[in-house]
Amino acid sequence: MTDHAQPALLPGGGSRRWMPGPTRATGLALLGVLALCAIVGPDLVGQDPARQSLLDARQPPSEQHLLGTDHLGRDMAARLLSGAQLSLSLAALSVLTAGIPGTLLGIAAAWFGGWTDRVLGSFADAILALPGLLLVLMLAAISPGSWWALYAGISLTLWVEYFRYTRQRTRVVLAEPAIEASRMLGLTPSLIIRRHIAPEIGPGLLTVAAFGAATAVTAVAALGFVSVGVRPPTAEWGVMMTELLPYWREAPFLILQPVICLVITVLALHLSVGGMHKR
């Protein structure tokens, strides 16, 4: 079976695996725009997200306030961008702190099996038995309003997905004759992880990471909304929704703004790994 003989039979072959389809392209573009806004946006808007001006409360969009002002006269655009910074950086951090230990422990569990696998597996199951948000709530309750509690809680919930995915895929890979062949040839565990396991779990981990990041963004907003997460006056999308909810009848465009931001972010994350076909 050569490359040119049967191209249609190998849809996942070669470099085409990494060519984003329209779904992924949309997601990645959205994500890029969001990240760009979060990084350079606050400077462009040039407004302090915390500066109140009660005389200018609930103003419609104008030249001075691109997206209007909230009930305390704070600039909406500045607050949304500041919220984006918070949400996206927390999502990115949680991907790292949940993803790295989750993946490594998953490989360890599959590799060593036996007690290692049982202990790690039981721990992961115990965390899974609690609803994710509950765990975050508990940690947030211990230290109310703390950004760190929120972050630790989210990471502690999300590592399980990386762990379970990695462990399961790695077990399958390790059972293949190719592993036996590599061991016979004297290849070290590090090489086996890099050549056999990493390419196999990579694409799937990206999906887990994107969904995990979306979960983190939603969790931050949900906790902010029920007033146990980030506290006012910090500009955070969930907090903004709570604050603007009483004014939805007079100024519906205000509450809509953080809602739309949240929807777009979650959508972008989900789309960015959509339509990825595995080999």
């Binding site: 079976m1 190719a178 040839l185 050549r195």
Partner: protein, 466 residues
């Protein structure tokens, strides 16, 4: 009237033609044999007739069964023919059987729902069929626990349960040992005698010989030769058909003998087990440098387990396997029967070979020297295992093993490799043995291969107690 009439059948993947055009007609009570190596497009004929081509492929031309054109029927209409008008014996029995259902039940199910017997009769007929195939009448094991040959027989029993007059057999003898091989071929040969129609797809000339009838030889999707099977096999005209005949182990020349050296691997009173029960006991074997050795025996006897034990992959159940002084940890290398499964699938082959060379501190340029020797181009190293041919990959795996500088190569070639590749590979082993003094230990169920190729043959037979 012809039972099957195929006119100008061609199969395409996008713009690429994979098969054809092929035309033939078969009457009731006749046989058509399609021969060719792996990738020649043989299976596409069967899939086109059944109506099971993958959606990425398109077919042109016409197919009529019992005078009724079927190629333009919707899928559901064609599926109604399955089991009753025509049936297929699939190529990979493990894939066609339900992995979670007791084997005998899968056969009984076909008797019950396709042939329309009641539960009791279905059970009785199943028992009779399975016994006739040399299996337990109530074979309770799941397909995954059966050997390739056993699974193939279960699939045969299930496929023929509906008593369809047309049988399509795609590589029916793949992976079967000689005894079973003859049995399945005998069963197939009975189909036309009973008034049925048989289309057999094979790369094995001995199968074609027994089945007779008409023959189509395919290469790269093109028909290279047609005619009466007996006549074509007697006097092949096309060069490709000649090469195919020469690759039949029965026609191989006997490999010349050569001197062997000191003992390097000794098995004493070795016993092996599967799932806790002893398979082979009291096995003694000494491998000398440069030996060309074959271990033969029927399928399911534990040849692979024995080979893995000799290679040090499995601890002996009883007895010892000793390596002589000078034999290192990696001095015994194994070659896998399914080369694509022995490479990391997602990285270029060259990366894998380079890792091995680096691990064993072998100069990369020195490693590359093996390539032209085995008729391999360096460009192949940039490809992934799924984009080189089976034969090339088998040779690349030999290169990979040679980098380690082994003293013993353990190999288990099977009829999964097409015959020309198999012959080339084994010729190569004989050459490597002569030139380098590496001993090659082969397990095979093909007595012809053992007889023509090996310097020493160790036949295994079932212990009397079993």
């Amino acid at each position: 009237m012809s039972v099957i009439e195929v006119a100008d059948l061609a199969v395409f993947a996008g713009p690429t033609r994979l098969l054809g055009p092929v035309s033939f007609q078969i009457e009731a009570g006749r046989t058509l044999v399609v021969m060719g190596e792996t990738g020649a497009g043989k299976s596409l004929i069967a899939q086109a007739i059944m109506g099971t081509l993958p959606p990425s492929l398109t077919a042109t031309g016409t197919i009529a069964i019992n005078g009724r054109r079927v190629d333009n029927l919707p899928g559901a209409e064609r599926a109604k023919l399955w089991g009753r008008d025509l049936t297929a014996l699939p190529q990979e029995p493990w894939l066609s059987l339900d992995p979670l259902m007791a084997s005998w039940k899968q056969v009984a199910e076909a008797h019950r729902h396709v042939a329309g017997l009641d539960a009791k009769a279905a059970k009785a007929v199943t028992g009779r069929d399975l016994t006739a195939l040399g299996l337990a009448p109530r074979e309770p094991r799941l397909p995954g626990a059966l050997s390739g040959g056993m699974a193939q027989r279960v699939a045969f029993a299930a496929a023929t349960a509906g008593r369809a007059p047309i049988l399509l057999a795609d590589e029916p003898t793949k992976g079967l040992d000689q005894q079973r091989h003859a049995r399945v071929v005998g069963l197939l040969a009975k189909v036309p005698k009973d008034g049925g129609t048989l289309i057999a797809i094979t790369h094995d000339a001995s199968v074609a010989e027994v089945l007779g009838g008409d023959l189509i030889v395919l290469r790269h999707g093109d028909v290279v030769e047609t005619g009466k099977t007996a006549e074509v096999l007697q006097a092949p005209k096309a060069p490709y058909t000649k090469a195919l005949m020469a690759a039949d182990p029965r026609n191989w020349p006997v490999q010349s003998m050569h001197r062997t050296g000191a003992a390097i691997l000794t098995a004493r009173n070795l016993a092996i087990s599967r799932a806790g029960s002893k398979l082979i006991g009291g096995f003694n074997l000494t491998v000398h440098a440069g030996d060309r050795m074959a271990i033969t025996g029927p399928s399911g006897i534990g040849k692979t387990t024995l080979l893995d034990t000799l290679a040090g992959l499995i601890a002996p159940f009883e007895g010892t396997v000793e390596r002589s002084a000078g034999m290192g940890e990696h001095s015994v290398q194994k070659l896998y029967q399914d080369p694509p499964a022995a490479f990391p699938p997602l990285i270029p082959i060259g990366t894998n070979l380079r890792d091995v060379a680096r691990q064993h501190k072998v100069d990369w340029d020195q490693a590359l020297q093996y390539l032209p020797d085995l008729d391999l181009h360096q460009d192949l190293l940039n490809r992934r295992p799924d984009s080189v041919s089976g034969g090339e990959l088998q040779r690349l795996s030999i290169v990979r093993a040679l980098i380690v500088k082994p003293k013993v190569l353990a190999d288990e070639p099977t009829s999964r490799l097409d015959p020309i590749t198999q012959k080339t590979t084994l010729d190569l082993f004989a050459r490597i043995g002569r030139e380098t003094g590496i001993a090659v230990v082969l397990v095979t169920h093909d007595a012809h291969i053992a007889e023509k190729w090996a310097g020493k043959v160790h036949p295994l037979s079932l212990p009397i107690s079993a």
